[in-house]
Amino acid sequence: MPQPERENYLNKHYGVWSWLLTTDHKRIALLYLISITFFFFIGGFFALLIRLELLTPAGDLVQADTYNKLFTMHGMVMVFFFLIPSIPAVLGNFLVPMMIGAKDLAFPRINLLSWYLYIIGGVMMLHCMLTGGVDTGWTFYAPFSTNFTNTKIVEAGLAIFVAGFSSILTGLNFVVTIHRMRAPGMTWSRLPLFIWAHYATSIIQLLGTPVIAVTIVLVAAERALHLGIFDPKLGGDPLLFQHLFWFYSHPAVYIMILPSMGVVTEIIACFSRKRIFGYSFVAFSSIAIAVFGFLVWAHHMFVAGMSVYAALVFSLLSYAVAVPSAIKVFNWTATLYKGSIRYDAPMLYAFGFIGLFTIGGLTGLFLSALGINVHVTDTYFVVAHFHYIMVGGAVMGYLGGMHFWWPKISGKLYPEGWARLAALIVFIGFNLTFFPQFLLGYMGMPRRYYDYSHMPEFQILNVLSTAGATVLGVGYLLPMLYFLWSMRYGKPAPDNPWNAAGLEWKTPSPPPTFNFDEEPVVTWEAYNYEELDAPNKEEVPVAR
């Protein structure tokens, strides 16, 4: 480097132990970034094998039991070790303290513990997979998981338990931080909506995860000690397992999507150069999603044997939960209206999010209708629905956020041309992979089947889907490559390359270890883009 590097969180201390024993939330965020990227590739690898098997109607690539393990491990790894931590653990850890003007999270050591718990859980899961894996589906329903399967349920369950504890501690840290560590003047109504989104996510993490934790304990107890709580032979009810499982696992999908919505809100505001339309509505919709999300879990059980009257109740509630999400989409749209739109890579991902999340969300309403649900449950329609939200929504939001904040995190600019190309490839690859699956599901192709030779006419759509998955894979690889490239060869980033609003942009890129030289005092509203873009470039009230 030509000039002496300013001291920042990356170069303040060197050496492996300065990273492994760090309590700096920004370094912990990077530790998470590396770990979840690793698990994303593991989960992606399983996806690749699944798609390869489905190229032909016959089950000819792997055996049936192996295929069961493939979709199980794909699901478990992607849900518990990629999607749930992703944005909160990487972008949330990095940005929450900075956005509120704090030096760190409330409990930095617990933050590090969270990462270690994640790693321990991850290692346990890896070991489980390498020594035989699990074949129950990521949903490990009883009584198959408790009484019949010979695969390593207890080990996988414990891995998820430990990772879940990591998730709980992250949520705890965020809630306490947001309540207690806001800078002077940073009132609740001046908080970036990214913070509101993470607050709502944390509520779900805190109140939902313990229930699946105790469910895992029950399953493990049943397998190890033959207790029989879900065993029909003893009078136990397998549906009770499903109630307890989905009480967490449905809100879990909101853990996966809410942070992404928070990212999209930040990006939309910046690249339309406008305040978010309906700030209060967007803020409260995050809380509403968190609360309503706990009311709808049995919509995963409509055909499992539950009471049809309870099913009616849950169906109605499931319609209600769509409303706050729709409110967000309307407010984003209203923000874009008459905005000064820039099409940088983060914005491309945000646009992709809005379109694909809307499709995914609307198909969720299809599934909430009991009549349709009976027809498409356990088909590829459901698979397409949740991938539109998880991949088309959450992952695109994650990528958009990584691009948006990359200059701040790394101090380097990524190559914009390549980034826009990658965003386009991701979008095309995604739709090519998953849109055919809506059609397949509606036409009756069941999920979790490795052989569809009874309906060979499904092949063409499956081939398209696999082709799309390949394109999507390329789209995901590109950012990995150019982000790494930029760390060495990228242009140094200014403090605020996007001229964005938010306290994090008032620090150098990359920031110093304690974020702010002086505690900021906030006197302006969030998303003050009119002031930032003021023609006479008047100095915006700033802490320093």
Binding site: I203, L207, L239, H243, F294, L295, W297, M306, S307, V313
Partner: protein, 100 residues
């Protein structure tokens, strides 16, 4: 939040001992009530006594009453609310299965 040597208050000890006695009485009461045939009310009464005891512990031993801010109460209420959601909505299934 946390009581930090609030010298303006009188000693909290009498309150603590009063709550202690009340908790022991409540325990005896619930054992006694379980021995009576109260029909369908045995369980609700047992739960009511337990809830009063729990409330006493929370209000006076955990210092929710008096010293703490609204946020603590909100956390407690939220936890109870979501617990009741879990129990209540699950029971909508079990209570109505026989209707089909």
């Amino acid at each position: 939040m946390l009581i930090m040597s609030d010298h303006s208050k009188s000693s909290p000890l009498p309150t603590y001992f009063a709550v202690f006695i009340a908790l022991l009485i409540g325990t005896g009461l619930t054992v006694y009530a379980s021995g009576l045939d109260l029909g369908p009310f045995n369980a609700p009464i047992a739960l009511a006594i337990a809830s009063i005891k729990a409330t006493l512990v929370a209000l006076f031993f955990m210092h929710i009453k008096g010293a703490s801010e609204k946020l603590t109460k909100l956390v407690v209420i939220a936890a109870l609310f979501f617990l009741l959601l879990l129990l209540g909505l699950t029971m909508t299934d079990y209570a109505t299965r026989a209707w089909s």
